[in-house]
């Protein structure tokens, strides 16, 4: 930062046209958001929706949001180009840093204190998920908590948390970290905590218990107008953070990466904590969220990592992805005898899974072989057409698929093997969830392995520069078809799970919008990064159902795609690499913007040869 060089000048408000425009854009964005969240209009009263959104008190929160967002963006832009200095020009050291600098004893004391704090957090967590029938908090109750295995999981979680915090804090003391404005940091932390308290909703019984312990705090936190203020602030801050132009790992950047250093014990603990959350935590959720966890989150995680191979790894745009999902589901229905067209033999759903995978894969190859030869953007439209054809066939070919009335009943999963008899049934949604994990987790590791293998490197070479890759003897078509077929087969597997859980299929489930929303999961999380895609799937699938559940900020289920559309545009403008981008993808996007190579296998836009 060249802040120190221009030190003698006092902070002056040198606003120019750009700043005014930025502010106006932010406020206009707030107003658009107000319209988006406002009431619905109708064709007989076409202005009702807009008028009510803009001329009632509804708009105030969004105006505040726009102004805050504009201020934050202006502040950051000004600080970055050096016209403004940071609010605190001489960086004050935090308590942590000062204490750590005194002596080694104080540093160890500090470690002990943080450890204690982490333990306390653990206790509170454990308390959170404890038995519901309690009236007062006592040592006896706390001790009781430790008898539950989950407490140890929370302990590990806290330990991982603590390692992360301490590791990062220690780095702060030895290296410089002045580039994050401190107020943003603190506010961001507060917001994060607030959001976390919102996320505790799936653990509804636990929260009721907590509420009955201290109702005053709970009420002020959850049922007060300040909630909305926090939400607005949090949105503004997280947006301004999310959409900043992150050029830190572009080529030739002078800024050092602020990435966490992951030490082996930390990684191990993180795995353990993640495993704990994935396997143990769902048991304490209410049934509503258990169903949602399987149907909304789990299945979509599988779909998203499948599409990630096509879009993220190979750089191809597939808009008919849901067709393979549909195919998988209808193959299941076929072999269960639920379609008007009867199969030669009936199969147990477990045995259908490989069939569905193979059929989806074959259809992927059949569609991919001819079309993947073409320029990439034709692929998008052909896959769109394919998705539409599959939907039309499912909807209208009544003699084979049952048409829009849907299929008959699909048999459930069951095991009758070596004396083990178990039948899955919908009253226990978690059984499906664990079954899905059985295919999701291997898939995650397999795809991660592929990405780091020769195949993954070939995909990267093709999407960065297809001509160069081919000149090195790579058969680009083969690898593209491979990516396409793998994505398709993953969707086919997801189709089996959905079909069995839902019990009977309707073609309306498999509309084009679903393809787009899966694409959004991939793009939001970060194309090419499996962690990012999973995170994107979890956040974007959970958030709508959560907001719908509580109708936060006037959220309506029907408007979901409105938000998704806006999110796509904003994301592409400000943060094309996604929430948690893979390092390679991020560099590719920046390189492409500098005119080096391309970040997808779609062919160049401007560098076309004039012949």
């Amino acid at each position: 930062m060249s802040v120190q060089a221009t030190a003698p000048k006092k902070r002056n408000l040198s606003l120019n046209g750009d700043d005014v425009r930025r502010m106006c854009t932010a406020i206009a964005g707030g107003l658009v958001l107000a319209i988006m969240t406002g009431p619905e209009g109708s064709i007989s009263e076409p202005t009702y929706g807009v008028k009510t959104s803009l001329l009632t008190s509804h708009v105030i929160g969004y105006l505040i949001f726009g102004v805050i967002l504009g201020c934050l963006l202006t502040y950051r832009a000004k600080v970055q180009d050096g016209t403004w200095r940071r609010i605190r020009s001489t960086p004050r050291r935090t308590l942590f840093e000062r204490a750590a600098a005194v002596s080694s004893i104080s540093r160890y004391a500090l470690l002990a204190v943080t450890a204690l704090a982490a333990a306390l957090v653990t206790l509170i967590f454990a308390d959170f998920s404890g038995p519901v029938t309690r009236n007062k908090l006592s040592v006896h109750v706390l001790a009781h908590q430790f008898l539950y295995t989950r407490t140890y999981g929370y302990l590990l979680l806290a330990l991982a948390l603590w390692f992360t915090v301490v590791n990062q804090a220690m780095r702060l003391t030895t290296y410089r970290l002045r580039s994050i404005p401190r107020p943003l940091f603190v506010l961001g932390a507060v917001i994060a905590i607030f959001f976390f308290s919102l996320t505790s909703d799936p653990f509804l019984p636990a929260r009721f218990a907590w509420r009955s312990l201290n109702p005053a705090v709970a009420n002020s936190l959850f049922h007060h107008w300040t909630t909305y203020l926090w939400l607005i602030l949090g949105l503004a801050i997280s947006l301004s953070w999310l959409f900043k132009r992150d050029r830190s790992s572009g080529t030739g950047s002078p800024r050092r990466s602020r990435a966490l250093v992951v030490t082996p014990p930390m990684r191990f603990l993180t795995y353990v904590a993640a495993g704990f959350i994935v396997f143990e935590a769902p048991k304490y959720m209410s049934q509503y969220w258990q169903i949602s966890l399987f149907q909304q989150i789990g299945v979509f995680c599988l779909l998203a990592i499948g599409l990630n191979i096509v879009v993220g790894f190979a750089g191809l745009l597939d808009l008919g992805y849901v067709a393979f999902y549909c195919l998988g589901a209808y193959v299941t229905a076929y072999f269960c005898g639920a379609l008007p067209l009867q199969p030669p033999f009936h199969l147990n759903p477990f045995l259908i899974i490989p069939f569905a995978i193979i059929i989806a894969m074959l259809s992927g190859v059949l569609l991919g072989l001819p079309t993947l030869r073409l320029r990439g953007d034709y692929l998008a439209i052909v896959t769109l057409g394919f998705g539409e054809i599959v939907y039309v066939l499912a909807n209208d070919w009544t003699t084979v698929t049952g048409g829009s009335a849907g299929t008959g009943a699909i048999t459930n999963f069951s095991i009758h093997l070596f004396g083990v008899n178990y039948a899955w049934n919908p009253t226990n949604p978690l059984s499906y969830y664990y079954l899905l994990l059985g295919i999701l987790i291997p898939a995650i590791f397999l795809f991660d392995f592929l990405n780091h293998s020769k195949v993954g490197r070939t995909w990267a070479a093709i999407r960065e520069d297809e001509v160069a890759a081919q000149s090195l003897g790579i058969n680009a078509l083969k690898y593209k078809v491979m990516a396409f077929a793998m994505g398709a087969s993953t969707a086919g597997a997801a189709g089996v799970f959905t079909a069995v859980k839902v019990g009977h299929l309707f073609p309306n489930t498999f509309i084009l919008q679903l393809s787009i929303s899966i694409l959004v999961l991939v793009i939001f999380g970060g194309m090419g990064s499996i962690v990012g895609v999973l995170l994107g799937a979890i956040v974007l699938q959970w958030l709508p159902s959560y907001m719908n559940f509580h109708s936060y900020l006037g959220f309506q289920e029907a408007d979901l795609y409105l938000y998704i559309g806006a999110l796509l545009v904003v994301m592409m403008i400000f943060r094309p690499q996604g929430l948690v981008p893979s390092r390679r993808r991020r560099r590719e996007i920046f390189d492409a913007e500098e005119g080096l190579g391309s970040a997808d296998a779609l062919g160049a836009i401007t560098q076309e040869q004039p012949s």
């Binding site: 034709y378 787009i516 796509l568």
Partner: protein
């Protein structure tokens, strides 16, 4: 059978109007404008409101001059609506990315996002179900040739579309703006060195395509009413038409629309299943891309003059 053929031709004319939007943008930017279906829809809604506030529940106006008045004004207003939508899409979904020289995937995705945003915004504000439009003229049968009936609606489409296509052809190949568009299409950098304002030329390309799309939306609105997803399928077919004629080629789009219309509707006479027309259209698209990806008349907007 002749009836199906005629239906194909007249629907095909609407397709070619929409296809022009794709082909113009593709010719200049080498991008498929995924948000073009929403241009169509905006035009349809503009036409709906025009007819709603002028005719409304009054009886259908009769007489030649009334028909001409409502159709011409309706096409202009719908076209203006489509132009506005296309310009907004260009401004918010394309220009910020162009400024950064973003990869192609980013354009496609932001166009899809803009499309979904508009689609659902209209759905939210105007309802999500189709609404019938007030009719600007009596849709009676004018002539019957070999059992094929040509209605007033078909006649209006034929005349208006041919007029629009002719004037667009003149604009692209004879006017100063058209020359700028062709210059940018053949080489963006050189054109900008020669003093062509590239941004404005791209915007005018979107505007021209938007006008045609909006006008097509007007005709669709008269025929089948307006709804927020009225644009999706016609736009998909129109894209197929644009590829059929050779994407990036203005005259190719005009021919491609009619050929696709005929290819889609005539087989229904034998097959008897109306829903098969989509399957036929996309099969045509896939086969075409396999065997002649440059279309009937070849590509390149800049080089066909």
């Amino acid at each position: 059978m002749f009836n199906f053929l005629l239906q194909g031709i007249f629907t095909g004319l609407i397709f070619s109007l929409v296809a022009l939007g794709y082909t113009l943008v593709y010719g200049v930017l080498r991008l498929i404008n995924f948000a073009h279906s929403e241009v169509l829809m905006t035009g349809g809604f503009a036409g709906y409101f025009f007819l709603h506030y002028t005719i409304g529940i009054h009886p259908v106006p009769s007489g030649l001059w009334a028909t001409i008045f409502y159709v011409v004004l309706g096409v202009i207003i719908s076209g203006a609506g489509g132009t506005l939508a296309a310009l907004l899409i260009e401004r918010f979904a394309y220009r910020p990315l162009r400024r950064r020289n973003a990869p192609k995937l980013a354009y496609l995705i932001s166009a899809i996002g803009a499309s979904y945003f508009l689609l659902n915004l209209f759905g939210k504000e105007f309802g999500r179900y189709p609404v019938a439009t007030s009719q600007p003229f009596n849709n009676h049968v004018v002539v019957t040739i070999w059992g094929g009936q040509i209605t007033m609606y078909d006649l209006v489409i034929l005349i208006a579309t041919l007029a629009l296509l002719f004037s667009l052809d003149r604009i692209v190949y004879r006017s100063k703006m058209g020359r700028a568009i062709r210059a940018v299409a053949s080489d963006m950098e050189t054109a900008s060195l020669m003093g062509v304002n590239v941004n404005r030329t791209i915007a005018s390309t979107f505007a021209l395509g938007g006008f045609m799309g909006g006008a097509a939306g007007f005709f669709l609105a008269i025929n089948q009413g307006v709804s927020n997803n009225m644009g999706f399928k016609p736009a998909l077919f129109a894209f197929t038409a644009a590829v059929l004629g050779g994407i990036g080629n203005v005259r190719g789009a005009m021919v491609g629309g009619v050929i696709l219309g005929i290819a889609m509707f005539t087989p229904i006479y034998w097959l008897g299943q109306p829903w098969l027309e989509e399957v036929i259209a996309f099969s045509v698209l896939v086969l075409l891309l396999l065997f002649r990806p440059t279309g009937i008349l070849g590509e390149r907007l800049g080089r066909t003059a």
